[in-house]
Amino acid sequence: MVKTFAATLDSLEPIRNFIAEHCVEVNLNKKQTYGLCLAVDEIATNIINYGYPATGASNGQIEVHVQTNFSDQLKVTLIDTATPFNPLQHLTPEEADLNIPLEERPIGGLGIVLARQSVDDFNYEYKDGSNYNIFVINAQA
């Protein structure tokens, strides 16, 4: 299943809804569905707010691919042609010091930490001029 969305903040809710519909097919529970929607929302937000503005393109798009594997795994791939950005090269959940008092914590970077913690597997590839952000959730996990 593929659906293309305009790379604007107005697309965030429709993207989450599109993914949530498919979570039902593989019987993901509420927590897993929420985690997948959160992870995709965070990465899509980065693409919209930083990725496309960095290229100067005003009509960017995000392709959302949803694939079910063996009826117990859901794989979501976001494909965009914005500036190359590998979230894996940024803070890992372990590196981001979540114990720093909230009032002293820098604002920013939290989205990537949340994205990576909210799914079973997260991968990134850059090929043929496109970013591929890949999220996997296992229904049996």
């Binding site: 989450r16 937000t45 009032e103 989205g111």
Partner: protein, 109 residues
Amino acid sequence: MKVSVKETETAVIASIEGSIDSKTAPDLQQSILPVVNDRNLMVLDLTAVSFVSSAGLRVLLMVYRQLKSNNGKVVLVGVSEEIMDVMFMTGFITFFEIAPTLKEAFANN
């Protein structure tokens, strides 16, 4: 997302409905931050909130900082299990008081 704000002499109560993502977080910030003033209790009713992303957490952080500078506190009401998980994951949970209902938020404050 919809926000309705109620002000009393000492507290601000904001009831929020819908999703707090990068699209809606700026609206939320504008609706609640300017009304804090010198009050020292902010109650955020999240009972009707279905989704909070890091953009929403950032607004909560700004509200917390503002209240903290007034020696006040922020009470979150009706937080769903999924949103609670995210708050645990990020360590945000320790900075807010949590109450199941508005009535209980005021009974303890």
